[in-house]
Subunit: 365 residues, 4 copies
Amino acid sequence: MSFNTFGHLFRVTTWGESHGPALGCVVDGCPPGLTFTQAEVQAFLDKRRPGQSKFTTQRQEPDRVEILSGVMAGEDNMSVLTTTGAPISMMIANTDQRSKDYSEIRDRYRPGHADFTYDAKYGIRDYRGGGRSSARETAARVAAGAIARKVVPDMNVRGALIQIGEKQIDRSRWDWEEVGRNDFFCPDAKAAEEWAEYLSSIRKKGSSVGAVVEIVAEGVPAGLGAPIYAKLDQDIAGHLMSINAVKGVEIGDGFGAAARAGEENADEIRIGNDGRPIFLSNHAGGILGGISSGQPIVARFAVKPTSSILTPRRSVTAKGEEVDVSTKGRHDPCVGIRAVPIGEAMVACAIADHYLLHRGQTGRI
Amino acid sequence: MSFNTFGHLFRVTTWGESHGPALGCVVDGCPPGLTFTQAEVQAFLDKRRPGQSKFTTQRQEPDRVEILSGVMAGEDNMSVLTTTGAPISMMIANTDQRSKDYSEIRDRYRPGHADFTYDAKYGIRDYRGGGRSSARETAARVAAGAIARKVVPDMNVRGALIQIGEKQIDRSRWDWEEVGRNDFFCPDAKAAEEWAEYLSSIRKKGSSVGAVVEIVAEGVPAGLGAPIYAKLDQDIAGHLMSINAVKGVEIGDGFGAAARAGEENADEIRIGNDGRPIFLSNHAGGILGGISSGQPIVARFAVKPTSSILTPRRSVTAKGEEVDVSTKGRHDPCVGIRAVPIGEAMVACAIADHYLLHRGQTGRI
Amino acid sequence: MSFNTFGHLFRVTTWGESHGPALGCVVDGCPPGLTFTQAEVQAFLDKRRPGQSKFTTQRQEPDRVEILSGVMAGEDNMSVLTTTGAPISMMIANTDQRSKDYSEIRDRYRPGHADFTYDAKYGIRDYRGGGRSSARETAARVAAGAIARKVVPDMNVRGALIQIGEKQIDRSRWDWEEVGRNDFFCPDAKAAEEWAEYLSSIRKKGSSVGAVVEIVAEGVPAGLGAPIYAKLDQDIAGHLMSINAVKGVEIGDGFGAAARAGEENADEIRIGNDGRPIFLSNHAGGILGGISSGQPIVARFAVKPTSSILTPRRSVTAKGEEVDVSTKGRHDPCVGIRAVPIGEAMVACAIADHYLLHRGQTGRI
Amino acid sequence: MSFNTFGHLFRVTTWGESHGPALGCVVDGCPPGLTFTQAEVQAFLDKRRPGQSKFTTQRQEPDRVEILSGVMAGEDNMSVLTTTGAPISMMIANTDQRSKDYSEIRDRYRPGHADFTYDAKYGIRDYRGGGRSSARETAARVAAGAIARKVVPDMNVRGALIQIGEKQIDRSRWDWEEVGRNDFFCPDAKAAEEWAEYLSSIRKKGSSVGAVVEIVAEGVPAGLGAPIYAKLDQDIAGHLMSINAVKGVEIGDGFGAAARAGEENADEIRIGNDGRPIFLSNHAGGILGGISSGQPIVARFAVKPTSSILTPRRSVTAKGEEVDVSTKGRHDPCVGIRAVPIGEAMVACAIADHYLLHRGQTGRI
């Protein structure tokens, strides 16, 4: 893992800023012989794309992915691409780079943003649009995730928003079908209705709220991961924490497990009708000792509220002047919504990577 | 990062099982010219060592660390060791490997343990003492952490237990001095008293509870980390999640930030008396955009209750028989207690690593 | 290091095939605050570009590099780019992808090419233009090398062709100025004249010959590298061996040292006029125990003759038929010529990487 | 790859100096279920061990390897060890650390040694016995290589000394059986006789000579490696160059290929009696485009003469005084001899690593 690359064998390198000509990624170590279409990748990007409802920023970008290398088009059907084992380069042009006036924020450290720390680190800062911390960078992750989903046969990675500000879903109403029907990737139809009203008021105030996202990966074979420093949960945690604005990560019952007694927490096992072991619960979130158990992998992450708000906050400039900073213009009142497809992509990449690592070390797949 | 190594430039490789002759670590990439003593490393190991109170397992091992390479002893004072830049190998002999009878658990998958997943992964399992998942492996991390603490000048990494089962501390009573005075690394004297009674009853029942640990690193310069995949918080999260039984990690306000509005969450900035920016709060936990801000780094992690309990739990054997499993003998009623020095070590290693990375890329330290 | 990335801290990932829309690289870990122009990068690409003399293939591609990320343009002079510390993505469009007929070589394993081994590895082969083994991939390395040259202050990396087929230069006539004056990067004017005639006859026959390239890096500070597995010579050797068609690498006297006695081989040291140690010879090629000594770094590599020749060679098809294969069309009679700027780039990248590693571990730069 | 680790998936970390209590290695990523004995590992160490003939240094160390982790002993036969997939830690005690007087060389930079560059790099130098550059470090590599040999089924890696000083073998007399019969690992019985006389005279003079070693790996399946930066030849070259005193590496015909025409160099292919492709020659040394072809892998490396000689050479001290340095005491007149088992080990490790990488990425083994 290095500054702009993640993964061990299935490695993703991303590049680009929101105000340059383009951004993209290089997916390396992908198995040969996988097939996919540009449209499949595009579909995931479209889920992440802003401007689709009043609850996300109105920046309008088609986010059209170009696939530049690493594949061969089919002879019969040119739209079917087969991976060759070479690195897959994907690029997304930035089409909405209006020559905005950044002079105001150029020297100001927006509270809650990385302006101050970028300057501390690099001594130079690309003040146009957040540099590498731009939410647009995540489009590249989503494109990589679309490839990762092909690596593990029968894997299905889905995500949902389960909390927005202080408002949580009722898990008894969880319906995966519902996730695609509302503006929040919310699995609880009733909560989604309430959230619409709640978030509208947040948006009108120019305020923002945080959120919690849950990712569930089904169809993951037992045996992926390792006991110590290549734990599957460790890499999922690291991958999710690498998303902008994420401040916490849980596997299975997470912090809830801390409050519990050992009798309640361990997942008991019996022999199922097919003669194979089945777990009677999934407090562990599908991972025991860093290794997948064959149960669904369950991870959650907390997204902080964006600091781009209308209310002025106290801050300073690079020159040491005290100023008040507020953000005009349209911003996402809840950046956690669009984090759902990103979280899915990051979990898919982590599992794909460990699938290849496991096959490499043990040959048992 | 690979199966048994963590870190980028300051890299730690650990090895060993609790039932072999020894375990240890190799610390690579350590700067030359740092000085330390064997006693300093030993002091951290002694904090982690079991058998020191009735609340931790009674396995009695001196856990004496031997330093085998990478240092030169002082000419005047042989006990002062100076790093040469070569890899530092440290070894801890296993002295308590009684020829215990493992035949009973040999084929049984203990619920909540990694027995089932080890078999799924490797097709072979070292059933004696948990293999690499043994808590003893963490002694090697603590030894490495003792070196890491020397890498960043003036850094002070401390930890405390802030929750045990459902019982949390009162943060208004936080007193670092108190941490060393009770059996729980608890910063709240009153809570520690209550916990003693509570945990005694858990122990007598042969039950167990989870816990939450908080680590605070002070004296960390601004600028460590990176915006995307070498985020300081990402590596801290991954490092902490790599500890046995950890199921959740938070930075700063963590999951609490999800419930909050943007106005409350951003840390405002002013100019301090010395003319330099100061933050008026630390919701971010000392990290903005993946990069340290100079404020204290604050991380928390949740430890699940150990599954080694007296109450029988349903399970199966490797041969597909249904059995009940219970754990006789003495085990920690709360493994989270001993996780405090381990968490400190992992955070110290993450920060030391990023200190070197930052110096390497930017030369700005 | 992974499939398509090289370097530890200064990391270069390349992507693209000669018959896709583009190829490129991502340079990660570059220090912030370096300045360069697109024209500087282009100048190195132009040295490598084919079609410039009758001794290189006539494929005509402008090889124009686009710099897509990781830099900020100057406010006064937009052509001066400053690195921000973010990944630098560079892309070169493929403009000469004529819809050539590849049906003939599609199933044939060209002797001396990687056709057979690609099929063995991946089970699928991009038969159009050699896939990742295409010489065009090296354009991306040259672009990365142009950035690497900026990392080490005062470093000067130059290369020369010192042997073509059986014809070697006379080292007593070595003149760096001469390198830019002939079609061979040859430092010996007289040899260059002879080579012109020699290579014309090779070309007319549709044959090919190998070559030896020497790279010299001056201005490299002492202390870069490491004693064991991050030896500077090891990484230089690996980097050079990663170039297509390279079959041997030497540092300093290389294989010549094997034939020599210890008395002749060791470079003696005296105190120079400035009171600092000076070496009286440079048999070691500027590297002792894996670490740079401050003397010029000298490396050489052998390039095999291309197998794209007119004379039919015996081979087989993927289907198991015996065939004869010969290459019509224009090809480089000596691919070693264009390997000179590539070798320079790879050595520059290796040294830049170790400069950052050394600064990271020791802080002594 | 990092300072003291090599390999991607099959990773070897070594540690220790010749004058500390021990040295060793940790082999990580080893597949589970491989079986071996301590005696097998010991046998390879014994080949490398000094003091076995008058042509190697008389330092007498038993070099007994202890296997500390990562294996389970058989229930029937305790000497049969099975790998569990956990890291294998192996240690070799240093028993010959007499309290020698190093005061003379303490501040002197021995010409041809790394004394000067260590000081330049680290600002501190372990002057006792060469630190990490000690030849003893290679014992750890040989132990790791013994495990690597088990990873690839049916692989056979052998080495031979083919040149000593200016004296080369006659390849037409090559006999692998002969390699074990003389003191030089020489495959040419007649040459071995001549070398004995030649090297005796070198030794008596207190001089030294260089050597060339050839390594041949048979039974390597086609498909290992990658086209660009994980080329099998690149990693073999890097691994061999990481051995002390190595100054050059060749694959197949190596530098000889540079002098040749394309017609001679390409290995032609026909269909063999079994219906599968066979190569009619092996100029390529078993690697095409960075990927193994199924032919024997052939690599050669040049070892420089040791600088530990009786003749005084001019040098300086750390304090800037001019001195003459000569080495009394017994040293190897040709360090290349003992490099044979080391070279075998490094090639075995490189191939084992690529076997796992290939299986991981493609699943085609």
